[in-house]
Symmetry: C2
Subunit: 450 residues, 2 copies
């Protein structure tokens, strides 16, 4: 690229119509002049050849992605991160580059948006093999083309009639292998103990040994009995993750049978299929997080998880289960908080999604999560912390509610446990120290608890 070429891929942000561009933040390692690398990066993302042979046309003014900010973070590195090799000579520069990409190139379509911002142009730009999409900012004019969550945080609270605390989820365990009858009894017990939402594991689909139709029928009936017994609305969150072709039918079957919220593994099913389901769905849609870590875990390569938190919200999820705090989930506290913010921060007319940071939780981890999230607008989602409790799921759920009551009353967990046998048993089982996750507590909460 000549000077006169690459300058066409730069712009002053103030001179661009903000409604017409999405703004993208990237980390980029490149060889040679970072301005030329950044210009190539924009060219590859948009109009890689901007005129026909023999023509003097220039497609860049309307169609080019443009560099609007470029900061060299580190120059003269001896090589790329992660041992990525490149035979081209020259020092490596690590940069932060902000790009304005004209969304008219692809329109309000999730697959086309993904292709533009983390597709071939992003990951195969010459001389720049190490790249991470850090964040995405969508103008209101673009957001207005999306529906977003039907219920959102307020809608979920209205359905459950819970306004003054986090929402308490629980993953029914054993997650795989139980027939519907045994499985539904566990859910019933957990609602009686105080869960708002008993949910299928993300691995439990519509299987022959636990068909969704029968499972949702039994859990739906159990939910209604639990609502009568407790006087509180409850959700049975049924996992309808399946082939796209079956999503609408499974929605209809599960909801007709008594499921009143639906779980979808967002990335395995695909965000666009979720958007399709959202237009049809009459109950809240909840996202689970398989297949995000493989491209988000490394700090300098791939795509930051908050980009997908935003896109899951855009696709229409009312709540987003995400890797939470604690070492096992391999997400820094900052990353979890960024994902929480991606769910709750203003986003045009798109409603907030409830963030549900999860991973190895039990009664003893609730205060830590609450303190780190800094709001009651979150979901708490133990698995074995409820369903591996020695007194069973009713006791396990009760221990969670007791832990919350302690937070509200400002008393210590120990003090509260002296008055509540379920919480005491939880601490004895899961609480090597007050925050030891169940699965790392010397096998106490494996299948061998009995």
């Amino acid at each position: 690229m000549k000077d006169s070429d690459w300058s066409g891929f730069f712009a002053d942000a103030a001179a661009l119509n903000p409604d017409a561009y999405i703004i993208l933040d990237y980390y980029l390692e490149c060889i040679g002049d970072p301005r030329i690398a950044a210009a190539h990066f924009c060219s590859e993302q948009s109009t890689a050849q901007w005129r026909r042979v023999g023509s003097s046309e220039d497609l860049r003014p309307r169609f080019a992605a443009r560099v609007v900010d470029l900061t060299v973070l580190e120059s003269g590195r001896p090589g790329f991160s992660y041992g990525i090799a490149h035979s081209q000579g020259g020092d490596v520069q690590a940069c932060r580059v902000t790009i304005a990409h004209p969304h008219g190139n692809f329109g309000p379509r999730l697959p086309n948006l993904l292709s533009a911002v983390c597709g071939e142009g992003t990951f195969f730009s010459p001389g720049a093999p190490v790249v991470k999409l850090l964040d995405i900012h969508l103008p209101d004019a673009y957001l207005a083309e999306f529906e977003g969550p039907r219920f959102g945080v307020e809608g979920l609270r209205d359905l459950l009639q819970v306004y003054d605390r986090p929402l308490f989820f629980g993953v029914i365990k054993p997650n795989i292998g139980l027939p519907p009858e045994a499985f539904s009894d566990l859910g019933y017990q957990s609602w009686l103990g105080g869960l708002d939402i008993a949910k299928d594991d993300e691995m439990l689909g519509d299987t022959e040994w636990c068909p969704l139709a029968r499972r949702s029928e039994l859990l739906g009936a159990a939910r209604q009995r639990a609502e009568q017994a407790t006087g509180c609305p409850k959700f049975y969150l049924a996992n309808i993750t399946d082939e796209v072709e079956r999503l609408i039918d499974l929605h209809d079957i599960a909801v007709a049978n008594g499921a009143n919220a639906l779980l979808i593994n967002a990335m395995p099913v695909g965000l666009s299929a979720v958007r399709m389901l959202r237009r049809h769905a009459r109950v809240p849609l909840i996202a689970h997080f398989p297949f995000i870590a493989p491209f988000s875990r490394l700090p300098n390569f791939g795509v930051h998880s908050r980009v997908f938190a935003k896109l899951q919200r855009l696709a229409g999820f009312d709540a987003i289960i995400m890797p939470g705090f604690g070492e096992r989930m391999h997400s820094s506290d900052d990353e979890v908080r960024e994902n929480v913010a991606a769910c709750l921060a203003p986003m045009g007319a798109i409603k907030p999604s409830l963030p549900v940071p999860g991973g190895s939780d039990w009664a003893g981890t609730l205060k830590g999560v609450y303190d780190k999230v800094g709001t009651i607008d979150f979901g708490f989602v133990p698995g074995r912390g409820v369903f591996g409790h020695p007194m069973g799921p009713r006791g396990g759920a009760a221990s969670i509610r007791q832990a919350w009551d302690a937070i509200v009353a400002g008393v210590s967990l120990g003090e509260q446990a002296a008055k509540h046998v379920e919480l005491r048993a939880a601490i004895e089982t899961f609480g090597r120290n007050d925050i030891a996750p169940p699965d790392e507590a010397a096998g106490k909460c494996t299948g061998d608890e009995s």
Copy 2:
């Protein structure tokens, strides 16, 4: 986990019913005893809690994923690859672990398969933050539940009546920004020059400035004129990448208007949505590769690209465009060949998909690609190598065919160029050295060629 617990996640492969298990190869870095880490890994993938509290049941015999092979590649590493931190004490072991996972846990459903083999259980197993799914082997009993490609390699050859050479694709450029009229003229010229398949760029969807309906109408008519002029069948490969809800309609519109093959960005749209489209589609489906590199580029983390080559074939793609040879595509020759093999190797009753390794190709790179692939069953897909040719796309396409003729005749490119002006011009434009890709050749093939 106690000894008696983790042994339940091991098995002798010969003792398992091969029809009932998929086989998974992983690279895994873990802290402590790798046998216990591998058992945890299986537990997290399948039945993480294998009995109810107070019960003596054991769900593992039917539902547990099992370690069938474990090899320690390197023990006593001071830490994890890629600087991933972990506070748990102990040396790190790098292992190769082979797992038999009972597919009855989830059934013949792509989203559920993905959730099982590269979901939460895989990437959040305690003490094992560095993992890569290297390969997947599906038994015939499982494969039999999938349709795979409708046409496959033989079907594509029958439609094009080309049996003795690679299939020649070309990406119409400028890829973004031209109206349908100008765009279709470029496609027409490229067919006259000898391309089999003129295609939309993966970034070009159904936009207001180049609507798919109008584009496919014009390209469809141009294709028919080119077929009459040349006496050879041609494909116009229209990109229908869009929201899942629109795929069927866009198929119908594009095909009715004259497109006779369809491009879909596999991962952005979602493999399951492609499987749905496959059941409806009446023309070949071709995959493009955005959003695979972010999780496949690093050797020891994420998912190997061949897993997704296999799954794209399973979803029903007749051809799979993939990152090809050459440094810009950041894939080793071995990785490209593994992906080619994933397309062509026997796979139950699933037809082969045509592999199309691409990236910065032109006439001068054809012999290298052919030699490395080792078969004529591949597609060759230049972009600027055809559409940035100084004599226009007709000359660019001719230069590709001339390069192939040289290979067949066993003459050098230089010798052939002496007789063919189009090939000579290609070498002058793109051939700094015989394999310089167009976009790294000092801007000669950017928008500024004129």
